[in-house]
């Protein structure tokens, strides 16, 4: 594509650093570049001694009159408004089309609340995330989606937990900026186990643990980890851990760690050269969360909203453009993309 607006001679010169087969001298290079440069800054140069001679030469070439400048500005403004208008129409149409398409996919590929369907959907994948993370929003008002407030949030959490349990993902961490659900571990536990029961039925229902940093984990102590089926063999129940994260587990935890380390250093318990990435990593893994393999965003764009920074190092980030709200298709497509992704560290 003719994109750069350079002539062939210039292209060769820039790329090979030579003109007509001869290597370029710095002066020749500057002469070539001259027509591509912005006008000299109006403020006086801080190092006049060095640039004086070159300035004088270039001033003749590029002396912008204020009048043409104003017209130019006006032209730019008109073009900007036109582009903005065209694109805003385009974006709206694109969003409508995509939402329509997601809806169609959602109806066609519904999971019917049966784990077998979900297993069937993910059985061909090469790999599944061991640790899945999702970012959810606390909506104060629902735009006729029925997802407002704590109840809507809890609903989403239950669905995601059930899908993950069906797909065979052992650990799900749920990030929500305000951390509203952290205060109700018991109710959350009840709600999630109820949803799991409607998916799996009472006998195959996976055991569940609810965790959040700096709080004791919550699970029912009587839950048997394995049970006898009709034909007498022992089958172990799958286990699902749901971890709740909030904004406080992001930057603030790192700050807490720094404060603690500073206290220790002041008392002489730790030397500065003992602090390294492994120490921080170990502390954060133990107290907050490990690095998730896959992060699913249900928002229309990728904005992390304060997600714990340290943990995101190599996490695969998935979102469907223009999608809004939790739905199974996003979840499934994220797993499909992850199933194909190759992981290279630095290579």
């Amino acid at each position: 594509m003719a994109t750069t607006g350079l002539t062939l001679k210039e292209q060769t010169a820039f790329l090979r650093d030579s003109l007509n087969g001869k290597p370029l001298t710095p002066e020749e290079r500057e002469a070539l570049l001259k027509s591509h440069l912005p006008p000299t800054p109006s403020s006086s140069s801080p190092t006049p001694s060095r640039t004086n001679s070159k300035r004088a030469k270039t001033r003749k070439v590029r002396l912008h009159k204020p009048k043409t400048g104003r017209i130019r500005n006006f032209v730019h403004f008109v073009i900007y408004q036109t582009i903005a208008l065209i694109f805003s129409v385009f974006f709206r149409f694109r969003r409508a089309w995509r939402l329509f398409w997601y809806k169609v996919c959602g109806v066609m590929g519904h999971h019917h609340r049966s784990p077998e369907w979900i297993v069937n959907d993910v059985k061909n994948l090469e790999q599944l995330p061991r640790h899945l993370s999702v970012v959810l929003d606390y909506n104060e008002d629902d735009e006729d989606q029925g997802t407002a407030g704590l109840e809507g949030l809890l609903n989403d959490v239950c669905e995601i937990a059930a899908w993950s349990a069906s797909a065979g993902i052992p650990l799900v961490s749920i990030y929500e900026r305000t951390g509203a659900l952290k205060n109700y571990p018991k109710q959350t536990y009840e709600a999630i186990s109820r949803t799991l029961e409607t998916y799996f039925g009472p006998h195959r229902c996976p055991s569940l643990t609810i965790k959040s940093p700096h709080m004791p984990s919550y699970s029912r102590p009587t839950t048997p980890t394995s049970e006898t089926t009709e034909d007498g063999t022992m089958t172990s129940r799958p286990h699902l851990t749901v971890l709740f994260l909030s904004e406080l587990d992001g930057r603030n935890t790192l700050i807490d760690l720094t404060v603690t380390l500073s206290h220790m250093a002041q008392k002489g318990d730790v030397r500065v050269d003992q602090i390294n990435a492994n120490l921080i990593d170990a502390e954060l893994n133990d107290h907050v969360s490990t690095e998730p393999d896959l992060l699913i965003l249900f928002s229309p764009t990728v904005v992390l909203k304060g997600y714990p920074p340290w943990q995101l190092r190599l996490t695969e980030i998935f979102h469907l453009p223009d999608n809004k709200g939790v739905n199974y298709q996003v979840f499934l497509q994220a797993l499909k993309k992850f199933g194909k992704a190759e992981f290279r560290v630095g290579k």
């Binding site: 594509m1 900007y80 790192l254 500073s262 304060g306 995101l312």
Partner: protein, 361 residues
């Protein structure tokens, strides 16, 4: 310059002088138009896809990197002309040292060559008003590369209109670790020892002098009750650095009240660690003086951060993943991203305005 490796009529047409001129004028016009809307102040790029590009075109890997650096030059021009203040690029990860020695050496040689060229054209860089900063773990580099870096950085240090941050060998976890370390160091250094050597631009002894000066002032007019309160002497670490004595900051670092009394007699005095905030850690990051990251672009369809700008981008940054490979990346890929960003920004502002007005009702 993808067209170098393409043949036929399109290549001939692209390099036909009148056509080239027209395209150039069009680019200028579009960039000028872009300036009229809101422009991100800080943009970061992950330059991914050079090797895949080389593999697909059947050219040397090194040549792929070379064309990647051409793409970088093009995009930097677009950024600075459209008014972006800070551009941060992920040039080389610490993990990249795992690649073949041949490739690492070639990359280092390329960095040296490009920085050498920059040093030859200091005057031209002045036109963009851009200063280069290399951020990362310097101790991983060879001395000849370091010398080239230092020369280029010194050459452009006086420019203050724009900044180019080159992350060269960098990983974000190292950056955060270093920030934590230097914060701990700052807060565990007794503030009346003057002999501590400093690693940063701000000399610690200088800060300590300011702190002491202010503390002496506090001591003179401090009442007994005043001394007991934790925020007795609101000295912010940041303000202490800039040498101002503004007493209305939230990031105040107070003296330890118990040890305050016998500062001049015995026992070391420390800054109070409880006053460490996000701002404190921020100021120890390698991008300390840059505006918050507005836009992060990663090419080649990989949807991962790969240890880049973790601390900086996890709040409100728009992260965009593009399918195109980095050497192909140009104004025509960048423009839609910018327009979409402007559109989203405008919508966000409208929403905030609506919320503000509905609250007032």
């Amino acid at each position: 310059m993808a067209s170098l490796h393409r043949s036929g009529i399109s290549k001939w047409l692209a390099s036909f002088p009148p056509f080239a001129w027209a395209v150039r004028e069009l680019r200028e016009l579009l960039i000028g138009a872009l300036r009229q809307g809101p422009v991100p102040q800080h943009v970061a790029f992950v330059m991914d896809g050079n090797r895949r590009f080389a593999r697909e075109r059947h050219i040397e890997t090194v040549e792929g990197h070379n064309m990647g650096s051409e793409a970088l030059a093009r995009i930097l021009e677009v950024c600075y002309k459209s008014g972006v203040k800070v551009v941060t690029i992920y040039a080389f990860s610490i993990e990249n040292f795992k690649r073949s020695k041949h490739e690492v050496d070639a990359l280092m040689a390329m960095a040296k060559l490009k920085l050498g060229q920059v040093s030859q054209h200091g005057a031209l860089l002045d036109r963009y008003g851009a200063s280069i900063r290399i951020i990362g773990q310097r101790d991983h580099l060879k001395p000849d590369v370091l010398a080239a870096i230092d020369k280029a950085v010194a050459m452009t240090a006086h420019n203050n209109k724009a900044i180019l941050n080159v992350c060269f060998p960098y990983t974000s976890r190292e950056e955060i670790t270093t920030a934590v370390k230097s914060t701990v160091e700052q807060f565990s250094t007794p503030i009346d020892t003057l002999s501590t050597p400093s690693k940063r631009t701000f000399s610690e002894s200088h800060i300590t002098q300011h702190l002491r000066k202010q503390m002496l002032g506090e001591d003179q007019d401090a009442t007994a009750g005043h001394e007991m309160s934790r925020s007795a002497s609101p000295l912010s670490s940041k303000e202490a650095k800039s040498g101002e004595s503004n007493h209305s900051s939230s990031t105040s670092t107070a003296m330890d009240p118990l040890e305050k009394g016998d500062t001049h007699a015995s026992g070391p005095t420390f800054l109070d660690p409880e006053t460490i905030t996000a701002e404190t850690l921020n100021s120890h990051m390698l991008t300390a003086d840059a505006p918050p990251l507005d836009l992060l672009i990663r090419t080649s369809g990989v949807e991962r951060l790969s240890d880049f700008m973790l601390w900086q981008c996890h709040q409100d940054t728009s992260i965009v993943f593009l399918e195109c490979l980095w050497p192909e990346f140009d104004l025509w890929h960048f423009l839609p991203v910018m327009i979409e960003w402007q559109w989203q920004r405008k919508k966000l502002l409208e929403e905030q305005k609506n919320r503000g007005s509905s609250k007032n009702d």
